[in-house]
Structures are given as structure tokens and as C-alpha cells.
Point group: C2
Chain length 532, copies 2
């Protein structure tokens, strides 16, 4: 498949800018063809205007059409076949097996949202019937449902070239809710992005959407994204990446004349609490599992367990010894790109330089030069210095973790109270740990989006019950998820019809429940028709 | 009932500040006893810290306890009886009949949320069961529901001393979701606020809540509210008032180290579109209804129809003649306080001073001096000057409206496209108007929270299907409502439990559905138990 390196401004390929860039294979540090054209302000603004116009002029699209669009995108992605995996591997250094799974997750998500839209109950339809005889005032007829919010800007994530990028979860949920989408492609995998964008354009054509419904712009400079978020046609933003990046977009969106919601999923150290009973029972098993979770995907997951909190003692020493063996037995791994590796190395050096922090173990072979390789690293410190140094609680994105030894259960609780917002919090507890577990869980419920009993936080299941998000700085908006069916709620807003004639109401709100969706009728949840 | 004029810092009455102020009876301009103490920074911060601590140390409260709290507040408000209405009348100039209805609405809302919480399905529980045999990876058990967001700051509104103030819709929904509340009382009705705060404190005591669960601070300076919103313990903000006031709070909340959601319901001109068929059929009836809606409560509703858009012609002339008669036949009315009257008069003068705007009619008797009275006013202009002067589309809070004459249906549509976000948009249409109605409605769906077919926007029904909100600047967050049961969603966030033991899960997520709530189990909505 020949790549052109241009921006997709609606259906038009555009390469007006003079700035170009290339992806680089992290495993070899070789640049990859072709050169990609950074979008200029006028190209970005044109894409946003076209999306706003397309949204304004939209015909009412049936749920069936929306579902078909999502399924067609999935089919078109599958149809690219091996070349997509090859390009993604070349651009990210991620192994084929992982990319194949990620592709399955991406197409699975698209099909899941298609099913959600086809079933239809997600619109939260509510009908309160009129009562013209009510005193002192007659009661009007009120019917409310969720409708699309408008054009959405979505930022591809570096660590998921498929599942959180051009046709990832944010795009799927924004399209499912009925919105046009403009993607800012991640500059580390522009070729993978282009191939996916072509798949989306094909799907739009096949299902009768205007090609203005989707655009994609390239860029290495932050300004490309900033221009997009500032455009008055954009109504919401989806982002997965760093705290600095997410916050910059949030600030821009909040300072617009018309502020808009920003769903930025940012950073997290995902604390793992090892309670005494669990360490006594299964220190070795937890150590093996933790090492696997920390080093999975070279530690490049937002749910990577970067902080482990445990009570000092023999069991912890045994655990640390086993964990050290795991780290020492493992090798270095390839990171996504030079920028991430550099940030990781700075983070590791900063931790190592702290007198109270000990580098307990690391991968044995030296990382190879010119291959974007990172050494894994296991650090240990004590609760007192940890609580006195906010830097230690910051995310180091990559295959390392920091174990904090507490002297008492009270200190463990105190430490938990001082933590910032998290995507996840994990608890390993034994039978005797119930009281401490309850206390820790109460604290962490107010600070984390997902609480795990046992296991490890990497691996984010895509389903209705998933919540992938959390209090700031894990995410910019604790009220919503970036994974699972509930993500569709991000890109919708309610509208209420008062005293509207039946035949002019959306199908979801007419008396005859032709779509068979669950509705709240006079306060009662039902799939029944409303009596005329 | 003797008023003390102090701040409620949890259960402690506090009057540490030196600044005091008095309410004033708008009908007489006489000051009312006692003097109220503006809260100092340390008092405000103490209230926020106490709320944060109370939230952190909360025992799990059953839905039943929450429901009882809400019902007790309603009962305690009822128990105050006539003195509450008398004080509210003295502080606002609103007539007893209106205040009695507003009290009914307030207690009705509290009881509605009690019922919602008792029924319990609002938590949007979702259960996806484990599949340990799934390949390549076993599927974990995931269970997700909404939990309280944390301490909420609520700003009393000037125009609803009961229904949007201390125990109004925002407080009811925040408490219903399980959060502590700190109210910043509106300085125009501090006595009514104090009486209501006492009712809440009594209800907390009767239902076993700590008295730190609720605080109320007084103040005339904006800084009082700003201090409250800046406090890191506060997790969300509810506000009803002006665009300037709401935006200032939004900006403060967005610039915090940890940004928090602000639900500000601000301003709206609530356009009424009069289509040709409707004017031909019933110009007189619409004129009478519109006059009643514009002057209801002296025009001091956020849903006041401040803008009327119609096609020029004989029918419109007939309508304007009738509408002028209505305005001329009515008297002036008492506004809530001097500040609102002054702003109204400035707005009216600004409009009158525009060469393209004609003052067509106004209430006949001169407003009495020293009685905070406003003249009603009917203005007319043409579409061309209206579209060239953004000021004309701004809200003038009070009993006036501006009719805009359009030359063509296309011009009507063009004008609609230029409007900002609105709480409501109303359409009066006849049989022949269907095509124009469809076009206008499509445009306004993207701009308004509630669309009315016939009728007038004043009167906001409290029910599940109501949506009271809309795109900015009608509200700061188009995704949520300040009226109706869906308001509870403002003050909640999801949390997900992975692989958690049954007996440690919240009741809403256990296999046995003891509360009988609607849940999404493996993607299917059901009230059934989950098989063990």
C-alpha cells in the first residue's frame, strides 16, 4: 500500500504546508517513508468548518446507518490485512502478536458500539405524559433523549496505534453518538494513521455519509492540536496521553469564548496495596504477576503499576527478593519512540539520584544502542521519605516500579490519603486483612476509577461495566470513561421536546416504541408502548 | 422566629467577620433586621475542610437514610409555615401565592429525589461476569455503578428564594447523590436562607448525619464564592444566575490545580418563532399568552421569552397591535432588588437608544419611586439591524421582549443560525408551516436544551423528562440539567470493581439484587438476580 503523507480534509487530500516529518522505526532508529505534511492553520480550520457544516446539514440518520458505518470501518480495517500490522510494527516497535490483539480490540470496539446503537436504549429516553386537568396548572407533555453533541476533535495516542488512535475507542464512541470526527494523528505512527483514515473514508462512502464527516490532520507541533481545539465548530475533545498535553488542551478548551468538554485520560501510578495476609500467603506469586504487569508492553500502559505499597517485614523482604530475581532475569525492551525512552531515562535517573531510594534490581543485559531500548527497573523506598517528596508519586512512563515500605498499617493509610487521583487501585489481601482493606478501599474509592481485588491493573476489558478514567490527574473529567459502552455518553447531550406532535418526534420518543428500547415512562422503566 | 444573621459552619454558628449587610424589602426599600455576617476566608475554608473530612469518614449510608434526609428537610420546611413565606415575601417582593407554589415545588423536588434514591436504578449499575475460560486471556468480573463525587458548593439564586436556593434543586440533587453541601446564600434573601438552613440542620440531626454535612455562608462580595470554589475539598459547583457570575466561577474552577465541574445555569433570551400559519390562525391568542409569559413574575425567569422572531406582514402587524394593547393595559411590577432593577433599566435604555429599535408599548402607570418597580416594555426591530448588532441578542433580565421582523423565511433561518445557546426555543406553527418548522427546529436542536411546540417557555416542569440547561451561554455544561431527576447525575461519578468478593460489594452490585434495581447484566437490562 502506497502512502501519500497528506492530510485528510474531509474527502480531499491536502499537503499545503511546508513542514514535513517522518516516522522512525524504534527498533532500528531508521526513518520510514514517506514524509508527512504537517497541517497548516487554514487546513485545520477548513476541516473543522466542514465538520460543523456537515453536522448542521445532517439528515436524521437512523441508528441502523450509524451501526453500519461502525461495522464497515471495522471490516475495512480487517481488509487492510497484514500491511497494517507491518506498518504499525515498523512505526511502534510493538510485536505482531500484540498488534494483532490490538486490531481485534479496535474492530471489536467498533462492532460493540454498532450493537449498542442498534439496541438503542443508550439514549436514556424519558417520557412524562401531559395532564391537562392538573391544578393549578396543566402538566405539559415532556420527552427527553440524548442527541449528538457536535463535531469532536480526537487525539491519537502514541501507545495504542490502533485501539486509541484514528479509529480507536474515542472515534468509535463519538461516531456512535452521531458526531463528525476530526482526528489529530499521533506523529509517531502517521502511516498506520493514514491507512486507518482510508478505511474510515471507504466506510463513509459505503454507507452514504458525506466525506466531510471525518478529517485527519498530521503534525508534530502542539500548535496543530491547539488550533483544532480553539475552532468554534468543535464541541468536545478526546485525548489520551501525558498530563502536560492533556492539561494544555483542557486549558485551551476552558478559555474559549464557548468552553467545551475535554476528556483527557492522562497519567496514573496505579498503586498496588499488598496487605500483610496476602504477602504471608503468596509473596512469590504476587511478585511474578507484578513483574509481568510492570514490564508488559515495555511498561507503556496507562494502567502500569508504578507504585507498590506494603508493610515492612520478613514477608515483604521475601517478596522483594523474588521480585528482584524476576527483574534481573528479564531483558531490556524496545520503547515506542526516542522521546518516550528519553523521558523514561530521565525519570529513572531522578529516582536513582534520591538518597532515600534504592535501585533494587534491573534487567541484566545493557540496552542496545540505536534500538530505543529501555532497562526495566525496580526501586524501593520508605514511607516517610515518599510522603515528603511529591516527585516520587509522579508517573514514570515505562517498565519500572517503586515499592514503598510502610512501618504500620496507619502509615499505609496515611500514604493512601496523600495520593492523587488514579485510574486504578489494586488490593492484595488475605483473610485477616479485612479491616485494613476496608479502610484503604474507602480512601481509594474517592481517588480511583477502578478498584481491583487481586490481579493487576494492566489489561482493560472492553465492556459495559468498565470504567477507565478517574479523578484528576488520572483524567480531566472523573465523570466519564474512555473504554466501554458508557463512553458514548461523553459525546451526547440531552434535549427535551415539550408538547410536540407525535409524527414530528424522533422515533425513540414516539408513543409507539418502534425501536423497542428501554424508556422511562412517567418514571417507570419499560419497553412498552405509551398509550395514545 | 428570631434570626441570628450568622454563618453555619457545620453545626456551629459563626460570626467572626466584621462585614455585615442587611436584606431590603424591595416593595418599600426598607432594610430588614437582623444584620448578616459576611463569612471570612477562614470560616469558608473551615466549612469546606469539615465537609471533605465528613465525606472521607462517611459510613456507607443506605439509600433509605438518604431518602429520609431529603424527606425530613421537606417536612421541616413545611413546618416553618407562614413565617417562611412572610420573610421570603419581605425579602423578594414576590407575592404569597407565588411563594406558596414555589415552596410546594421545593418540597416536591426534595420528595421526588427521595423517591428516586429509594427506587435506586439511577446508579446505572452494570455487571459483566467473569469468564475464566476465555482465550487468549480470561475475562475478569467487572461491576460498575455511580457513587457520590464529593463535597458540592451551591450558590443560591436571587430569583427563586426557595426552589433554587438553600434547599433548592441543586442541594436536593447533590444530597441525593450522597454528597455534603456547602451553600453560598444569595445576599438578597439571607433571612429566608437562614430559616431553610435551620430546617436542613434539624433534618440532619433527625436522620443521624453529622452536622458537618451541610454548611451555609453569607456574603455580598464575589470573593466569598471564589474562596469556596478554590478550596481543594470542593468537588463540584452548582450555580444559577448571570453569565458574568457563572463564567467567573467556571474560570476559577477550571484554573484550579485539580479542575472541577461547574454547573452554571446562566442566561437565555429563549427565542419564540412565530411561523406564518400560526400568526394567520391565532395572532390574538399568541399575543395574550406571550404577554403573560413575558411579565410573569415581573419577567424574572431564566426562561423568559425575550426574543420573538416572525415574518413581516399583515398578520404580524395585527399580532403586534394586540400585543401592544396587552402591554399598555398592564401595570409596572416589583423587581427582586435594586440591583436587578438597575440592570433592567440600563438594558431597556440601551435598546431604546438604538435607532433601529422601536419601543412599541410599555405598562401605562409610571413605576412608583422607592418601590423597586419596573415598567414592562415591548420593542420591535428588523432582522437586518438585529443580525448586525450582537448586543440586541443579549438577555435583558426583566419584563420586556424584542420582536424581530424578518422579510423572508430564509432570513428567519439565517437569524436562527446566528443565535447563541439557549435554554429553550419555542415554535408556533400552523399546518402549512411544516417545511420551515423542520428547518428551524434542526437549527435550534443544536442550540437549545428544550424545544416547545406551542405554549411558552416559562414554567419548568419538575420531572424525569425535563431538561433545563443548554449549550453555552445558556449553561456552562450542555450535558446536564438543573431541573428534574436527571440532575442527580451531575454530582456522581462511576467507579468499577474488578473481581471483588460478593460480600464486599455495594448492595447494588451483588449477585442478589436485594434492592430490585434495573441493572445492565452482561449487556442486558434486567431486575433479575445474577446467577451465582
Amino acid at each position: 500500500m502506497q502512502l501519500h503523507g497528506k492530510n485528510f480534509i474531509g474527502g480531499t487530500l491536502s499537503a499545503e504546508g511546508e513542514n514535513t516529518f517522518q516516522a522512525r522505526n524504534p527498533a532500528t532508529c531508521e526513518p520510514l517513508e514517506p514524509r508527512f505534511h504537517e497541517a497548516r492553520a487554514d487546513e485545520i480550520n477548513r476541516a473543522a468548518e466542514m465538520a460543523a457544516l456537515a453536522f448542521q446539514e445532517r439528515e436524521t440518520r437512523s441508528a441502523e446507518t450509524t451501526a453500519e458505518l461502525l461495522e464497515h470501518i471495522a471490516d475495512e480495517i480487517d481488509a487492510i490485512g497484514q500491511p497494517l500490522l507491518d506498518r504499525a510494527e515498523a512505526e511502534t516497535g510493538l510485536p505482531q502478536g500484540r498488534l494483532k490483539m490490538e486490531r481485534g480490540r479496535t474492530t471489536g470496539q467498533l462492532r460493540m458500539f454498532a450493537e449498542l446503537v442498534r439496541e438503542g436504549s443508550w439514549v436514556d429516553a424519558r417520557i412524562d405524559r401531559a395532564d391537562p386537568r392538573r391544578r393549578p396548572l396543566p402538566k405539559p407533555d415532556l420527552r427527553r433523549m440524548l442527541i449528538p453533541i457536535g463535531p469532536v476533535a480526537i487525539f491519537g495516542a502514541g501507545n495504542f496505534p490502533l485501539a486509541f488512535s484514528v479509529a480507536g475507542g474515542d472515534t468509535a464512541s463519538a461516531l456512535a453518538a452521531g458526531n463528525p470526527v476530526i482526528v489529530k494523528a499521533h506523529p509517531a505512527h502517521p502511516g498506520t494513521s493514514e491507512m486507518t483514515a482510508v478505511a474510515i473514508q471507504k466506510a463513509l462512502a459505503a454507507t452514504g455519509y458525506p466525506d466531510d464527516w471525518f478529517s485527519m490532520v498530521h503534525g508534530v507541533q502542539n500548535e496543530v492540536g491547539q488550533i483544532l481545539v480553539r475552532h468554534p465548530g468543535i464541541q468536545a475533545v478526546g485525548f489520551t496521553g501525558s498530563l502536560a498535553g492533556g492539561r494544555a488542551l483542557f486549558d485551551t478548551a476552558a478559555s474559549r469564548e464557548v468552553p467545551i468538554p475535554v476528556y483527557a485520560e492522562m497519567g496514573s501510578v496505579n498503586p498496588v496495596f499488598l496487605l500483610p495476609g496476602a504477602l504471608a500467603e503468596r509473596a512469590d506469586e504476587i511478585a511474578t504477576g507484578l513483574h509481568a504487569s510492570v514490564t508488559l508492553g515495555c511498561g507503556q500502559f496507562c494502567t502500569n503499576p508504578g507504585l507498590v505499597i506494603a508493610l515492612a517485614g520478613d514477608d515483604l523482604d521475601r517478596f522483594l527478593a523474588r521480585l528482584s530475581e524476576c527483574f534481573a532475569a528479564g531483558g531490556p525492551c524496545t520503547m515506542l519512540h526516542g522521546g518516550i525512552l528519553e523521558a523514561y531515562e530521565v525519570g529513572i535517573e531522578d529516582l536513582s539520584a534520591k538518597p532515600s531510594v534504592e535501585l533494587l534490581a534491573h534487567s541484566a543485559p545493557e540496552p542496545a544502542v540505536g534500538k530505543t531500548q529501555a532497562a526495566t527497573a525496580l526501586f524501593v523506598t520508605d514511607a516517610e521519605p515518599f510522603m515528603n517528596d511529591a516527585e516520587m508519586a509522579e508517573e514514570v512512563f515505562g517498565p519500572s516500579t517503586l515499592v514503598v515500605r510502610c512501618e504500620t498499617a496507619e502509615q499505609m493509610l496515611e500514604l493512601a490519603c496523600g495520593l492523587a487521583g488514579q485510574l486504578t487501585a489494586t488490593f492484595h489481601a488475605g483473610e485477616a486483612d479485612r479491616s485494613l482493606l476496608d479502610s484503604l478501599r474507602t480512601v481509594m474509592e474517592a481517588k480511583a476509577g477502578r478498584l481491583l481485588f487481586g490481579g493487576f491493573p494492566t489489561g482493560v476489558e472492553v465492556c459495559a461495566a468498565m470504567h477507565h478514567g478517574g479523578p484528576y490527574p488520572a483524567a480531566s473529567d472523573p465523570r466519564s470513561t474512555s473504554v466501554g459502552t458508557a463512553a458514548v455518553l461523553r459525546f451526547a447531550r440531552p434535549v427535551c421536546y415539550q408538547d410536540w406532535p407525535q409524527d414530528q418526534l424522533p422515533a425513540e420518543l414516539q408513543n409507539h416504541n418502534s425501536r423497542g428500547i428501554m424508556r422511562q415512562v412517567d418514571g417507570v422503566l419499560t419497553r412498552e408502548d405509551v398509550a395514545d
